[in-house]
Amino acid sequence: MNPSNSSGGITHIGGHGVAGRTPRPESLADVLERVLDKGVVVVGDIGVSVLDIELLTLKVRLLIASADTAREMGIDWWTSDPFFSSQARRSEDRNRELESRIAELEQQFGVGSELTEADAPRQQQREDGER
């Protein structure tokens, strides 16, 4: 595998209609889908078999299919749970980033966090008057 750029990252096209490098790890479902039940198989009596990979793969696929069915029925709480969903994690990261930017801006303009929506016009008038 020789990635087409030097970062060695994975290119992910789709999801939000854009293509880009994804520095964050892939979701577990993506990795399971790619890894389970694939690759070189050693057959014969030389191996030590403690993991029934065929059965495990079947169970994982049944779970994923059940999750798809549940989503169709409107049961999708895990999609917004950062523990289970990389997309939810991304949203959470984005929220944190936005909150920190807002805090920076508030600090920059000397606006306290107690400023409410109702205060905004008064604040604007004050700033206009100062000008």
Partner: protein, 266 residues
């Protein structure tokens, strides 16, 4: 036909340590440094002739009773992530044949015996993926056409049976039309991507709403063209309400379908 590795007798004691095999590589040049890919496991290479296998010693009890838990932090997640990280790190250094998750051998002579006996087949398999990477396409159809539970958005009012049935018929016709549009767009993208690929895997269906899950083996020099075609096709599918994603470059998991036979007394 050979059967997969025989399960141990329930009463049989497991060895204290076994060899966990991640992938098979060219023995020369030596694989690039793997960094922390093994998550603490000391990675080693066993080389026989032109081929080598990357492995680490593990306690086989670590693999016993692994449950199908699809959540980060589960034993399955840790096992799969570690396996994939090692294989991916190996793939960055050259051709690699990922070995199936959970492959354990009792000792080093067993591993070298496999490499020695199947050296020619392994080299041929390495040649197949050399200079290439796997790219995965996954298309999920819009829920309204895939679900048998889809609601009918007809114009019928409550109590009007005929209007309900007409609405239901219209909804079914719309869904059928949409389905045929989606399938045509998926087939078009699949064919377009195949033009840039050396091989493509059999289509896989791994979920209730998955329309297509396919892997492509793409030569390095064609990857930019492949990506451009994928970007275009994915955009078309998203316009039709599908979730479509193409991901790569990845180790060639789907193109390492080699069976190595190994018996203690042969």
């Amino acid at each position: 036909m050979a059967s997969p590795t025989e399960p141990l007798d329930q009463g049989a004691a497991l060895p204290a340590e076994c060899i966990y095999v991640y992938g098979i590589v060219d023995a020369t040049p030596q694989p690039s440094p793997l960094g922390n890919a093994g998550r603490g496991a000391a990675l080693q290479i066993a080389a026989v002739g032109a081929v080598g296998a990357v492995y680490s010693w593990i306690d086989p009890a670590d693999l016993q009773d692994v449950q199908p838990e699809i959540s980060e932090g589960s034993r399955l997640a840790r096992l799969v992530r570690r396996h994939d990280e090692v294989v991916t790190a190996l793939a960055l250094g050259g051709a690699v044949l990922p070995v199936r998750l959970g492959t354990l051998l009792p000792d080093l002579p067993s591993l070298t015996k496999i490499l020695r006996d199947a050296g020619a087949a392994i080299l041929a398999a390495l040649d197949r993926v050399r200079g290439c990477a796997q790219w995965d396409l996954r298309v999920v159809t819009p829920a309204d056409e895939a679900s048998p539970l889809a609601t009918v958005s007809g114009s019928g009012e409550a109590g009007s049976g005929a209007a309900y049935l007409l609405g239901r018929r219209d909804a079914r016709q719309r869904a059928a039309h949409r389905r045929s549009e989606v399938h045509a767009a998926v087939a078009k993208l699949d064919e377009r991507l195949a033009e840039f690929a050396v091989e493509r895997s059999s289509p896989g269906l791994d979920g209730a709403t998955t329309c297509l899950a396919r892997s492509y083996l793409v030569r390095q020099e064609l990857q930019d063209d492949f990506v451009a075609a994928a970007r275009h096709g994915v955009s078309d599918l998203e316009g039709l309400g599908c979730e479509a994603a193409v991901r790569g470059p990845l180790p060639a998991y789907s193109f390492a379908d080699v069976r190595l036979e190994a018996y203690r007394h042969d």
